[in-house]
Symmetry: C2
Subunit: 229 residues, 2 copies
DNA sequence: CTTTTCTCGATATAAAGTTCTCGATATTGT
DNA sequence: ACAATATCGAGAACTTTATATCGAGAAAAG
């Protein structure tokens, strides 16, 4: 992790592990909602998700919600609080660059829209792909990226191009005024530090998995369930 | 103190952050190798990857490699050590379940084989998909999964089915003797605790991204680059 | 051959995250 | 109505991870 900014004026620094757990809670709560449950306790959540109840409570605390002793949290309030906190209520518009197999897969994830992400269009440098639509989203020429991003005030860019092209695409995105990049290419992007970069490197995950598996097989009894490696 | 215990399978608890950074080093080192560099120092790596040199050194230490003062590490040795440590040299065979768009994308990631993962086949419950091949990998009926996994001693299962079907598939995998599950479905799987489960929940990542973006836009100056959220 | 300089390795310090402990409070049962 | 109990909330204690500091040794320079 790069050095955090010195001026610790940070009003609220939410621990990243917490941030990663909140959607898990959300998903579980949604299933409870489907069963018409009205309230839920940290203990229940902890038991179901195999997490410490105290930790659940601390995580939920960051969303600002308050529970009632002996009862727990009102389910609908809690779900709403998480969604609000994670910004899933204000839809963010995004462009996706790289209409390969991974790009196509993401374009098909319709549920992203439930979570505040609306992918407007895909971009690709391949002439043969331009003009088609994938899962209902148009594929546009890469040349129009920066201009369109700027004109439409798109704030999120999703990079699903090969590693070699990722840096170039990132620069185009920044030029177009993009504020956050979700990077699926296995490279470290060098961009203005005000731009949020989120790396979704599957090879990293694979590394963790391989390593753990190797450890278990060599006798290191440590087969524990891990989160989002 | 423990010098380099080769034998005695140490309960070596490798920090997960370290595990996630190793592939990043690996990738960078590979590019250096392409330029015929012979050795590299932690300082160089740190500068390039915007990480603290001390941290780089600690991370590399876990692989068991030793460097030489004033010189650094021999590039080829270092790359080899990382690959060995991460288990990329002993190929793991895997089955993928769920031949949807995400499954197809993963089947197309040919580079997985460089990293020790060999996806042998895909499985799907959809009769229309069974019998076809995707990126050269056959799609087999779900009913054959457990049996084949057992007979072929496949140790890794990759789940890319919808959330509702994930638990059922996981149980099939465990029944087939699978040792590790790479789960792309947004659910928590309940399996024997000796089975390694790695959740690759894109919604979690999206959550972190949304939250950070919301924070920046609301003035919470915290626009820092984050790792693999 | 000696000095300088750079980089590893180890130890120490700090920060972050997790778990534990305790007290307060509202619901339930007697 | 009152006691029992389950659950939240806050803070302390502990563990884990990250950063800083210092000494040793090898290469390069003089």
């Amino acid at each position: 992790m790069p050095p955090v900014d010195l001026h610790h004026s940070a009003p609220k620094s939410v621990p990243e592990p917490t941030l990663r757990r909140l959607p898990i809670y959300h998903h579980y709560l949604k299933t409870l909602e489907a069963f018409d449950k009205y309230s839920v306790s940290c203990t229940d959540i902890g038991n179901e998700l195999k997490l410490d109840p105290t930790q659940v409570r601390k995580d939920l605390e960051t969303t600002g919600i308050v529970g009632k002793p002996r009862v727990g949290y009102v389910l609908s309030d809690l779900i709403g609080a998480i969604e609000e906190f994670l910004g899933w209520n204000n839809l963010n518009e995004a462009f996706l660059i790289g209409a390969g197999s991974m790009g196509a897969a993401l374009l098909g994830y319709r549920k992203f829209e439930d979570y505040g992400l609306n992918i407007l269009a895909a971009f690709d440098s391949d002439e043969k792909k331009v003009g088609r639509t994938i899962h209902g989203k148009p594929v546009l020429p890469l040349g129009k990226l920066a201009n369109l991003a700027q004109r439409m005030h798109v704030r999120i860019g999703i990079i699903t191009v090969p590693a070699a092209a990722a840096q170039e695409v990132a620069e185009l995105l920044v030029a177009g005024g993009i504020r956050a990049i979700w990077n699926f290419a296995p490279v470290r992007l060098r961009v203005d530090e005000r731009v949020i970069v989120h790396n979704e490197d599957l090879y990293c995950s694979l590394a963790a998995l391989s390593r753990q598996l190797a450890g278990v097989i060599h006798g290191t009894a440590k087969g524990r369930s891990t989160e989002h490696g």
